[in-house]
């Protein structure tokens, strides 16, 4: 598992769109969860005084969210499940915003109900789901795998809504559903648990035709255990639960559509409409009525008529669609809340009184709105800035497209007014975020390209995708379908292409291996669905394919016959001959599908899925669909399920440096924002080597050996750097020129570790990235690296804990203070990340009063930090790097400190991120229990081992830490077990370490010890390498079947493993321990990985 990336969001002035499609309040009434049409979830803090404030935005779905439901007993685990239009399901931890589980099934759910029966069920319970498929699916709440279905024997159909009835009287839980055709069905729930677990068919117990369509809600009155409320879009009805006889029908007046309802109390109900109104009725019993069924001789039925007590309404926004819900809590600190979410993104709450009463004259009383809030309110309340706010002249322009060129650290922004701003991303971010950064503002270097007359809609920096192309070229397309080729260094226009085809939607580049007369071409998709091929060298338009009726989804290239294959949103395929520019064929249906699937490797990036995150989920899905469709009840995976991606999120993948700027754009809008991404691992790697070589030129034998080897490795073949290179690379001076492909190599390792499914997915991704970055071995500027590190520290340090301390930090670390809290975020390697929203730090009630503290992630950080500090002094005789560096210049001191800090943080990040099971395995002195047994079948061992290695490799920073630090490690592992968030841990450790450092600095001012910290580190490394050396011999003894000599490139990996064990074992018996482990683990798969490793070394 690779560590997650730390992110900082620069939101800009406008909040991203969040059209609410689903809303719920958690059982503790502290969090509101909303799902949006754009595909995100938003967590909103709900204070005890019923004040709302948006907290966090969660990215994980690639299509509109259809429903939300709780996924566990909330008091035990605060988990919520969300389902999306395209069949994705995610389980989230709503207290920390982390995604717990994800699955993609070929089912679109419209409602989910959590069911758990503690005394009959093992596991975490079931999610009962209904939607665009027959009957009710039972999905395991933990694994999100389909367990079984509730089948109907009578007229099976789609189910519109469902509810679970816990009846105390009959001691049986029942599942009530209403189908699309209006058929009410009842299944026994608790008594059929066993049959379900044994996969027997369970049929409905009763069914009744309700004679209305579009059922929106069905609710059981738990107070009387008699009444059943069924809300249809045009009427609502009350039934007697005993015999399902109709007691009352109330038809909607004035064209209102009902959207749902709930039982408030005995004989009191609330009904709400699609346009945001709600009505509270008292159901009055008319007694026995003789007039209703006079003739049919049946038992006389009582009837019920409703009396309107209260109503709620929203002032404006008539006609917008609302999603509403009601939360009934009888316990004291909780409220009865009616809540609604609008398409506009507004949340409104009404506090419903315990006993709603009408006015004295009997007319209905209007219940006032208690609270209302939107994302934009958060943005208005807390000052937010966009990344280019401080670029001189940028002022108020709206950025309509942007691109980050990491090799130049340039951020290119296309603006609404047609200008293109080019600025240094790091400096721009600093200017915006940091206090002293305003000094930078005037000197912020920037360029303005003027050439477009309308807003710039897309940008492409070709050199970033293929190093063969000129480094100075930049392409930009505008609203007026003009594409300009620029020289970004001289700022001149090289050529203008006029396409006359509407706004340019995307600019893509042909894949590396598919070229036209030895040149790569640019593919330009316009909003009239036409595709133009532009030849940059020749400055001409090769082809303009204009016949497409539907948006272009896919562009492929037939290399041999020189065809351009365009797939459209209606599943049709157009084949264009590039030479002549004629339409060769147009196919629809099955044939089109075959054509589009034929040449898979020759694919240009698809515009819709152009951005890797989404394309990845797309692929992932198709992988997962296969098994599920072969399930007996699995309907056919509808191609229709594959919906457009909703957010364009360029992924972390073309990520070569330690720092990246990620432009993010919402669907259906122009509002975009930027995310700064920090790769701690890369940062540490880049920072570490330089000092080693500077400080200690007289290298130890082993060190220089590795260095030499590594150097030659790099020289010979930069492309195939393998995982072991990481360690040696950290020693080598060459590491600065680390090619991107290393990243992908690492990715490959992780892919193995993540089981088959993800493996496939990841590998596809790698393929992709290789395509995109074939030869990118570019240097990362050392200054940029240091600046990045400083910015990172600035962003993550909790400021304002102690004024003096702040000043010390500014002075000694040479970093600047934050202007205000930044929106921290976490990007995991998978297609998911979470971002804090402006004002997140004021959500926590306890932090509200304390405005002096800036950027403190949570109160917990301080406690954790204290704990950490208290563990620190235990290690007395330990030569702590920080305490010794007073000899050389201030600057190198600072640098050393920064390196040390980052190293620590990286280690913490790694530790906290390690999956629990895996870490447990390590803790128990390397007992390799196949924790993934159930999930993975064949590649089990391999995956286990290599993931293990992954851990070891990445945990390498620990290797510098002698056994005295065990207590710290234990502490941090402990945090992980207590599910402390990564960001929390990082902040805590950073705070503690910096405090410690500052203390010693002020104490020992003037007192100097000539050992520098880096040297110290190096000593440790050397020591480790020595150990490594003899471990290696041991290993050789045991791996006699491996005839290949194990050479030094392998050793770093080994050194990791044993140094890691050192954390928990005595250093003395450590190699034994390791070997023991080696021999314990099953031979074959291990050899596999060995061979793979050694072979790769042979290659280079």
């Amino acid at each position: 598992m690779r560590c997650s990336l730390q992110a900082v969001a620069l939101w800009g002035k406008k909040a991203p769109l969040h059209s609410i499609t689903a809303i719920m309040i958690t059982d503790d009434q502290q969090t509101i969860v909303t799902g949006s049409q754009e595909g995100q979830l938003c967590l909103w803090n709900l204070s005890p005084e019923l004040k709302i404030s948006a907290k966090e935005l969660l990215f994980g779905h690639s299509a509109s969210v259809t429903c939300l439901a709780k996924a566990r007993d909330f008091s035990k685990q605060p988990y919520v499940v969300s389902a999306a239009e395209n069949g994705e399901m995610c389980v989230w931890n709503v207290t920390n915003g982390q995604r717990v589980e994800k699955a993609t099934l070929p089912y679109r759910h419209t409602a989910i109900c959590y069911y758990h029966c503690s005394f009959r069920m093992t596991g975490e319970g079931w999610l009962l789901c209904c939607g665009e498929y027959q009957d009710v699916l039972i999905i395991d709440a933990k694994s999100l795998a389909v367990i079984h279905t509730f089948i109907s024997s009578q007229s099976p159909d789609w189910i519109n809504c469902l509810c679970i009835v816990h009846s105390m009287r009959i001691q049986e839980d029942s599942l009530l559903v209403v189908s699309v055709a209006g058929e009410l069905k009842v299944w026994d729930l608790s008594s059929s648990i066993n049959s379900i677990q044994e996969k027997q068919d369970v049929y409905e117990k009763e069914s009744k035709f309700l004679d209305s369509l579009n059922c929106r809600a069905i609710r059981f009155c738990t107070y009387t255990e008699r009444l059943l409320l069924v809300v249809f879009s045009k009427c609502w009805k009350v039934y007697d639960y005993c015999d399902f006889s109709l007691l009352r029908t109330e038809v909607s007046r004035s064209g209102q559509c009902f959207a749902g309802g709930e039982v408030l109390a005995a004989h009191r109900i609330i009904i709400w409409t699609e346009d945001g109104h709600s009505f509270i009725y008292q159901l009055l019993n008319s007694g026995l009525s003789k007039s209703i069924y006079p003739a049919d001789g049946r038992v006389l039925k009582e009837t019920i008529y409703p009396h309107l007590l209260c109503s709620t309404s929203v002032q404006e926004n008539k006609g917008l669609s609302f999603v509403m819900g009601y939360m009934n809590e009888r316990k004291e600190p909780f409220y009865k809340i009616l809540f609604s979410g609008e398409v506009s993104g507004r949340i409104t709450l009404w506090h419903i009184p315990d006993v709603p009463v009408s006015k004295f004259d009997g007319s209905p009383r209007e219940i006032p709105i208690t609270a209302t809030w939107t994302l934009q309110d958060n943005f208005d309340k807390h000052h937010t800035m966009s990344i280019i706010d401080h670029v001189p002249g940028a002022g108020t322009v709206v950025v309509t497209s942007s691109e980050y060129v990491s090799s130049l650290d340039k951020l290119i922004c296309g603006c609404e007014d047609g200008t293109i701003l080019i600025t240094q991303a790091l400096n721009a971010a600093k200017a915006g975020l940091l206090e002293g950064g305003s000094l930078l503002k005037d000197s912020l270097p920037h360029k303005v390209l003027k050439g477009h007359h309308q807003s710039v809609t897309s940008l492409l920096y070709p050199h970033g995708l293929s190093s063969k192309l000129d480094q100075s070229w930049l392409l930009s397309g505008d609203q007026d379908s003009c594409v300009i080729l620029w020289n970004i260094f001289t700022e001149e226009v090289l050529h203008k292409f006029f396409l006359e085809a509407g706004p340019v939607t995307s600019l893509l580049m042909s894949p590396e291996n598919f070229r036209l007369r030895s040149d790569q071409v640019i593919c330009c998709v316009c909003s009239d669905h036409s595709v133009a091929l532009l030849h940059l060298e020749g400055k001409r338009c090769l082809l303009h394919a204009r016949k497409h009726l539907f948006p272009v989804r896919m562009i492929k290239w037939h290399p041999v016959e020189n065809f351009l294959i365009v797939g459209c949103a209606d599943d049709s395929a157009y084949i264009w001959e590039i030479e002549t520019g004629t339409l060769e064929r147009h196919e629809t249906g099955e044939r089109a599908r075959i054509i589009l699937n034929c040449c898979d490797d020759s694919q240009l990036l698809k515009p819709e899925f152009a951005l890797p995150v989404t394309s990845e989920t797309h692929k992932h899905k198709s992988v997962e669909q296969r098994p599920s469709s072969s399930c007996q009840f699995g309907p056919i995976p509808c191609p229709g399920l594959q919906v457009e991606s909703s957010w364009k999120v360029a992924d972390v993948k073309p990520f070569s440096g330690p720092f990246n700027v990620l432009p993010v754009k919402t669907r259906w809008s122009d509002i975009g924002f930027h995310i700064l991404l920090f790769d701690l691992e890369n940062l540490v790697e880049l920072l570490l080597p330089t000092p080693v070589c500077d400080v200690d030129p007289s290298n130890s034998f082993y060190g220089s050996e590795i260095l030499r080897r590594a150097k030659s490795t790099v020289e010979k073949k930069t492309l195939t750097l393998k995982r072991n290179k990481t360690a040696s690379g950290s020693l080598s001076a060459e590491a600065q020129a680390k090619p991107v492909s290393e990243n992908s190599a690492q990715g490959e390792n992780t892919a193995k570790s993540l089981g088959d499914n993800e493996g496939i997915k990841r590998q596809k991704k790698i393929k992709n990235s290789k395509k995109m970055h074939p030869k990118p071995s570019r240097k990362v500027d050392a200054n940029i690296t240091i600046d990045t590190a400083k910015l990172f520290l600035s962003c993550f340090l909790p400021w304002g804990v102690d004024k003096e301390f702040d000043n010390l930090c500014i002075k000694h670390l040479d970093i600047l203070k934050l202007q205000g809290s930044v929106s921290l975020g976490l990007a995991s390697n998978e297609d998911h990340f979470s971002l804090m929203l402006p004002g997140w730090d004021l959500c926590n009630a306890e932090m509200k009063k304390d405005y002096s503290k800036v950027n403190l992630f949570s109160k917990k950080v301080l406690d954790l930090s204290n704990k950490y500090t208290s563990t620190l002094p235990n290690q007395v005789g330990m030569p702590r790097g920080l305490e010794n560096n007073c000899d050389s210049s201030q600057e190198s001191n600072t640098l050393n400190t920064i390196v040390y800090l980052l190293n620590r943080l990286f280690a913490v990040n790694k530790l906290v991120n390690t999956p629990l099971e895996l870490a447990c395995g390590i803790d128990r002195s390397f007992k390799m229990e196949s924790v993934h047994n159930k999930a993975r079948i064949p590649g089990n061992e391999i995956s286990n081992i290599s993931s293990f290695y992954g851990y070891l490799r990445n945990g390498k920073s620990e290797s510098h830490i002698p056994e005295a630090d065990i207590s710290l490690l234990k502490l941090i592992s402990c945090w992980r077990d207590q599910s402390v968030q990564v960001t929390e841990a990082i902040q805590a450790v950073l705070l503690a370490e910096v405090q410690q450092h500052m203390k010693t600095l002020s104490k020992r001012a003037g007192n100097s010890q000539p050992v520098s910290m880096i040297e110290d580190v190096h000593c440790e490394m050397r020591q480790i390498l020595q150990e490594t050396e003899w471990t290696r011999e041991e290993v050789e003894l045991h791996c006699t079947t491996d005839t290949l000599p194990l050479q030094t490139p392998v050793t770093p990996v080994k050194h990791d493993s044993d140094s890691n064990s050192a954390k928990f074992q005595d250093t003395e018996d450590m190699p034994d321990r390791c070997v023991l482990e080696e021999s314990e683990s099953p031979g074959k798969p291990r050899h596999h990985s060995w061979i793979a490793k050694v072979c790769s070394c042979k290659l280079c």
Partner: protein, 292 residues
């Protein structure tokens, strides 16, 4: 079906007229298109004998008989009776040339077989109609994005409806064997026969697989076949403890005229939707919309 394209190029318009045009588009034209769409889809849903909403008086759906045959062979003949989305009766005649035996089976009287594809397609259409019905003339669209979102939702339903008909389930042979369809017949199907019924585009298709058991000591490489719409002779699978191989495949089909209509309606309405989206997109600069 008008295939006109919008002129998006040309000189930049003066601000005022374009804004006015956009307002007209949003207030008048959108509703006109939506009404047209609704009419088409209502027409389509009628084909599926959708029970009319509101009236609630749903008589038994009318029965239609389809005689399934194929031009190449007359070994299999089937008469299927479709009642809405369910097969209410089926008569299958199978001539086995080997022994000149004529097999005949029919559905049990009390049983119906739901054609899930038709049901799903019908439900998707009614979802689309429901989406449109909520946006009648009284509703005022304020932004283009609103229209686009509505169109996206409608198109999603329509695409799914169409895809349900155009892409039959790819089933494995054990899945076909386990399906309830094989248990529908009286007399019961012989163990060496499998039957599958599905919709492909506008056609109702019936496939009959003749099987023979593979000898346990057979030299043939046993490789179970994956999922397919139509398995070819030679496909193998394991059922119970037996290994079976498909010896003959008979496929007969018959066009269902109203399915053909429905498919045409889907295509037309999808194009209408897309055209409306395109029209809205032309004015994107007015409400800061960036397509995709």
């Amino acid at each position: 079906m008008s295939q006109h394209r919008l002129q998006t190029e040309g000189p930049p318009w003066a601000l005022q007229p374009q804004e006015e045009e956009f307002r007209w588009l949003l207030h008048d034209e959108v509703h006109a298109v939506l009404r047209q769409l609704q009419d088409i889809l209502k027409e389509a849903s009628l084909r599926f004998t959708l029970p009319c909403s509101g009236t609630g008086t749903e008589g038994p759906a009318k029965q239609e008989n389809f005689i399934l045959g194929s031009c190449s062979t007359d070994q299999v003949k089937g008469v299927l009776t479709l009642q809405g989305d369910a097969l209410s009766q089926a008569d299958v005649n199978l001539k086995i040339p080997r022994n000149n035996q004529l097999l005949h089976f029919a559905f049990r009287e009390d049983k119906q077989w739901k054609l899930q594809q038709i049901q799903d397609a019908r439900n998707h259409v009614s979802q689309a109609i429901y989406l449109l019905a909520n946006r009648d003339e009284s509703y005022q669209f304020r932004t283009g994005a609103e229209v686009l979102k509505l169109m996206d939702a409608v198109m999603l339903q329509l695409t799914r409806a169409r895809n349900r008909l155009t892409t039959p389930a790819t089933l494995t042979l054990p899945e076909i064997a386990a399906s309830g369809l094989t248990r529908m017949f009286a007399p019961a199907l012989p163990s060496d026969l499998l039957v599958n019924v599905y919709i492909n585009l506008n056609k109702l298709c019936l496939t009959v697989y003749q099987l023979h058991a593979l000898q346990p000591n057979s030299t043939k490489n046993f490789r179970p076949a994956g999922g397919a719409v139509l398995h070819s002779p030679g496909a193998m699978f394991e059922w119970g403890s037996q290994r079976l191989e498909v010896s003959h495949v008979h496929k007969v089909e018959c066009v269902i005229p109203w399915l053909n209509d429905a498919l045409v309606f889907f295509t037309v309405s999808l194009q209408l939707c897309q055209q409306l989206k395109d029209k809205i997109s032309v004015f994107s600069s007015y409400w800061s919309y960036r397509p995709f």
